[in-house]
């Protein structure tokens, strides 16, 4: 029986031997194969809380892989994606990326979905000086200051405040300009950050903050919160929420009949097909952030072809069937890497990183240029308003004009209906 106690180092030893053997095997037989493929590795949330987005992103990335391979690969090499499920759990991330780098010997790594799953990979990237294209993390690089980090989410160079900038600019452009604001956010990473940025902006604009609270993400009924907001009569209401609570909040606002002039801002989930079709007309009038909507100003080259392919691939997989919000960006962050490798003609991370810092990229989400901190050089967090929605059909949301772009000025596609309700 005693021998059981010794297991751990023995297994480590055994594993070590196995690894050496495997490495030898690769050196002997696999070398030829390793030369004509480029392996891109990542962890992605395929189970757990973020899996809805993670699975959608993965499908988009596979569409990209097939596109690239069909046109002959990168530098004449076929592309292979190597990925593992991070279970939406940050604790799995360090292990996954070392496995990818040291055992699978991938050539490049990109991030999984979301701040919580990007941050734990950063120390590894910095230690090895790797280029790290990242998918939808908010202000991850503020603490790390890593120069090879590139965030595809168009938050902008000051992600915390840029996020809600559009919401405030729209509000302040109205006559009379609002004087008071209510801030409400979920108790979780993104929502708190977005609310912090909104708070700073509100202070700068001299808006009186009459309500400033956060709530537990599992709150089942939002009417107490909406009632408390209503009692303070704010001119505008900024909400930073996650999918389930976004729905609860919208329902409660409609039921209570919240009277305010502008409502929305940072509600995650209202962009998802399943939630839009569930809420239908209740969405009308809400002004919320978005990243891509089917408006004529945003028809970048390639995005529609991509969506057609994505929608076909996504069928029956239990993921977002239209894929507007995140999916084009999941395609684009690989396009950026692709173009950088092709332009430098090199597999050297330092060289590619330098190119990515300087160049402008042409992607399905438009032209992308990065700021020194790895965020987009200029924010493109859209503020859109839900308008003229009369039913709960999916087709309603795939046509132009139900989500008109109000901000930034470059992409505006319609007029604001103001006020929200009075």
């Amino acid at each position: 029986m005693k021998s059981f106690g010794k297991k751990s180092p023995w297994s480590a030893l055994k594993k070590a031997l196995a690894t050496t053997a495997a490495a030898a095997g690769v050196a002997l037989g696999g070398a030829a194969q390793a030369d004509d493929t480029i392996k891109i590795g990542f962890g992605m949330a395929l189970t757990g809380g973020l899996a809805g987005a993670g699975k959608g992103a993965l499908i988009a990335m596979e569409v990209w892989r097939d596109d690239v391979n069909a046109r002959g690969g990168i530098l004449g090499k076929q592309v292979e994606l190597v990925y593992y499920d991070d279970q939406s759990n940050p604790a799995t991330v360090p292990g996954i990326y070392t496995k990818l780098l040291d055992i699978d010997e991938v050539d490049f790594v990109v991030s999984g979905y979301g701040t919580n799953l990007i941050a734990p990979a950063m120390p590894i990237m910095m230690q090895r000086g790797l280029v790290f294209p990242a998918l939808f993390g908010l202000a991850v690089n503020e603490k790390f200051n890593y120069d090879n980090y590139f965030q595809i989410m168009p938050a902008g160079p000051e992600p915390m405040t840029d996020w809600s900038r559009g919401f405030f600019e729209i509000a302040m452009a109205q006559d009379p300009a609002p004087k008071s604001i209510a801030l409400v956010s979920a108790d979780a990473e993104f929502a708190r950050n977005a609310a912090t940025g909104a708070r700073q902006t509100a202070d700068k604009l001299g808006l009186e903050i009459v309500y400033d609270e956060s709530y537990h993400p599992k709150t089942a009924d939002f009417s107490p919160i909406v009632n408390a907001i209503q009692a303070r009569k704010p001119d505008i209401v900024f909400v930073a929420s996650y999918p389930p609570d976004s729905v609860g909040m919208v329902k409660a606002v409609n039921e209570v009949g919240l009277k305010t002039r502008l409502f929305g801002g940072g509600m995650v989930g209202l962009q998802f097909a399943s939630i839009m079709t569930a809420l239908g007309p209740q969405l009308n009038g809400i002004v919320n952030y978005d990243f891509w909507v089917p408006e004529p100003t945003l028809k970048f080259e390639g995005v529609e072809e991509f969506l057609v392919k994505y929608q076909k691939a996504a069928e029956g997989k239990g993921v977002d069937p239209i894929g507007y919000y995140l999916q084009p960006y999941a395609y684009a962050y690989l396009q950026v890497l692709d173009q950088a490798i092709a332009a430098t003609g090199s597999m050297d991370h330092a060289e590619i990183g330098k190119y990515m810092r300087d160049a402008e990229f042409d992607t399905v989400v438009g032209k992308v240029r990065f700021a020194p901190n790895g965020e987009w050089a200029k924010t493109r967090v859209l503020q859109v308003q839900y308008q003229g929605i009369e039913d709960n059909e999916l087709a309603t949301f795939t046509k132009q004009g139900t989500r008109v772009v109000l901000y930034p000025a470059e992409w505006v596609s319609g007029e604001l209906n103001y006020p929200y309700a009075q």
Partner: protein
């Protein structure tokens, strides 16, 4: 900030929320309180009920509450089956405390993963005419989305309560955990009685699941969020007391609503569980315990 209107609104919202919590906890009160079976997978069964309602609603447009009712017998049978396994594997070997708990833990995971594999992880909702309506009594808004589940929950409670207190089998269920021997002397088979009781407990989750999906959008792992809440209510109630469960659920709902309205919503869950911890420390027999 305090106004009478706000207080009234908070109380109404709390009562409605409490009614919903009560529906979700009822089955656990029977299984855990009366039969001593620590069914930690109870919320997972509720989610299963939600998905059944979702499936019938999205495919055939059936009303979620009717679906819940129609599937109650099916869930009852699932409960009976689950109890057979539980009995054969644990109770008969007098082994239920630790291993029985672990068993239901595993069941919870299996249900969750099964749902993920079939339905994916997208959020699901149902459509029904009463979702999105509301009316006002004075300045207080009453959303029918919350009112309908509240009423259904009350009816459910009345039915289970009457069954438990008026029928032979019902009384036997109430008695089985306390005195097996006396039950046997009355010519009732304790195993069969417990099987019946557990079946009822799981049966209620079909309807409770339908109510859940009416109130909030669901995804497979959302059940975990309710483990704490339902156990808190069952304990607060004094194990096994059906009226106690209703009162405890209402207390929890009102406490959460008041805190959310007046102190800040992020403290709401801690207050609920704080009450539970205090109750456990100072009055472990619960509000209605003997």
């Amino acid at each position: 900030m305090f106004t009478v209107d706000l207080l009234l609104s908070a109380l109404v919202a709390g009562v409605l929320l409490g009614g919903f919590y009560a529906a979700v906890s009822l089955g656990l009160t029977v299984a855990f309180g009366q039969l001593n079976i620590v069914n930690i997978a109870h919320p997972a069964f509720v989610i299963l009920g939600s998905y059944v309602a979702y499936m019938c609603n999205s495919r055939w447009g059936l009303d979620p509450i009717l679906v819940g009712l129609a599937f109650t017998p099916v869930f009852f049978l699932i409960g009976v089956g689950a109890y057979r396994i539980y009995y054969e594997s644990f109770e008969r070997r007098d082994d239920e405390a630790l291993r029985g708990l672990a068993f239901f833990f595993g069941v919870m995971f299996i249900i969750e993963v099964g749902l993920i594999m079939v339905y994916g992880v997208d959020f699901r909702t149902v459509q029904a005419p009463y979702i999105g309506q509301n009316f006002k009594i004075g300045a207080v808004g009453v959303p029918t989305r919350m009112l309908v589940p509240f009423c259904v929950s009350l009816v459910m409670f009345a039915c289970v309560y009457l069954y438990m207190s008026r029928t032979f089998n019902g009384r036997a269920i109430m008695a089985v955990a306390q005195d097996r021997l006396a039950l046997q002397l009355m010519a009732a088979d304790p195993v069969r009685i417990k099987q019946l009781g557990f079946g009822i407990g799981i049966g209620t989750t079909a309807l409770a699941g339908a109510l859940l999906i009416i109130i909030i959008p669901i995804e497979p792992s959302i059940g975990r969020l309710y483990i704490g809440q339902v156990f808190a209510i069952a304990v607060l109630a004094g194990l096994g007391s059906i009226p106690g469960t209703l009162v405890a659920a209402l207390v929890l709902g009102i406490a959460e609503s008041l805190v959310a309205t007046f102190f800040g919503p992020s403290w709401a869950p801690a207050v609920a569980f704080g009450i539970l911890l205090l109750a456990l420390a100072f009055r472990p027999q619960g509000l209605f315990g003997r």
